[in-house]
Point group: C2
Chain length 171, copies 2
Amino acid sequence: MSIKSSILALLAEEPTHGYGLKTTFEASTAGAWPLNIGQVYTTLARLQRDGLVESAEPNDPARRTWTLTQEGREALRSWFEEPVEQDAPPRDELAIKVLLAASTGSTDVRDILQRQREATMERLQRTTRLKREADPQTDVAWLLLLDAMSIKAEGELRWLDLCEVRLGGKG
Amino acid sequence: MSIKSSILALLAEEPTHGYGLKTTFEASTAGAWPLNIGQVYTTLARLQRDGLVESAEPNDPARRTWTLTQEGREALRSWFEEPVEQDAPPRDELAIKVLLAASTGSTDVRDILQRQREATMERLQRTTRLKREADPQTDVAWLLLLDAMSIKAEGELRWLDLCEVRLGGKG
DNA sequence: ACAGCCATGTAACTTGTTACATGATTTT
DNA sequence: AAAATCATGTAACAAGTTACATGGCTGT
């Protein structure tokens, strides 16, 4: 739902045309997640179908401006209101991979753990370097994303160690 | 890709029929992620379409047994070999929400941070309690999943605090 | 003239997901 | 006899994603 909701959030700020949504979304998220322009239009079409956005009369057919409907404003409000991930924990690919490797004999779990550890450490070093290079005054959003990535990487490393411990017995 | 790959992993262990895949998947992941049975069949159909699995002659039409093809074995091997999440960091809904709330004025960021903090703390307490109740001898997979959830929740809380700090200036 | 950005959109596809229809076998 | 579990599958949809087709406008 992230992209749909993001578009609603951007339109709540200011009615905009499709291409503008792409650029403001990328600016808001510090360029970390490039947004394919085609996706903006397909998403807008679906939001319109669902009655969450509408386009003002296309005075300029080459620049169609979109606005939120009342329903769209409500959908946005509940997105902001409800915390992320309340009920079902989403499937975690790394966890699934490790557990399946452990429960089936098809591969050596410790190989997987080791390779993952290396990849994750590299990721952590990369984000650490980027954090050093960023400007705390101007790159607040970018820094927050880097924080999130670092924290996730550190957590992954901790978890990989726990796997080693808990699966220790069964080589 | 998790479900597709999981099915490949289970079939590598032992050729099975659809319903069996559901139960062994749920057993391998300690029941944390129930798998809709319909999805098993649609996924099997897609895997067959892509030449990764094949069903032995349906001697018993009411119990169709699936096996890996050579291509399927290779796909499984690369899934196990390649670490998760090498190139593009996946979109993070919580991060997007906070950044959009911060960059557009449509809502108070601190409300979002606070509500999320409460929900995440509850989640953390829930997993902690479940960990206490689990048996370290028999529930290894379940405990590892609980570890993963705890670590993620703790990371989320740390990140929310960082948000408060970094966004502190702009109410 | 040509490169590159601004701007629109459609078609097709992937993965995940649910709802529905159907029936056999097993347990209570 | 009824309920639960085992077992198969289809139809349809949601959300994300890419590739393609099209054209205007701007700067070099």
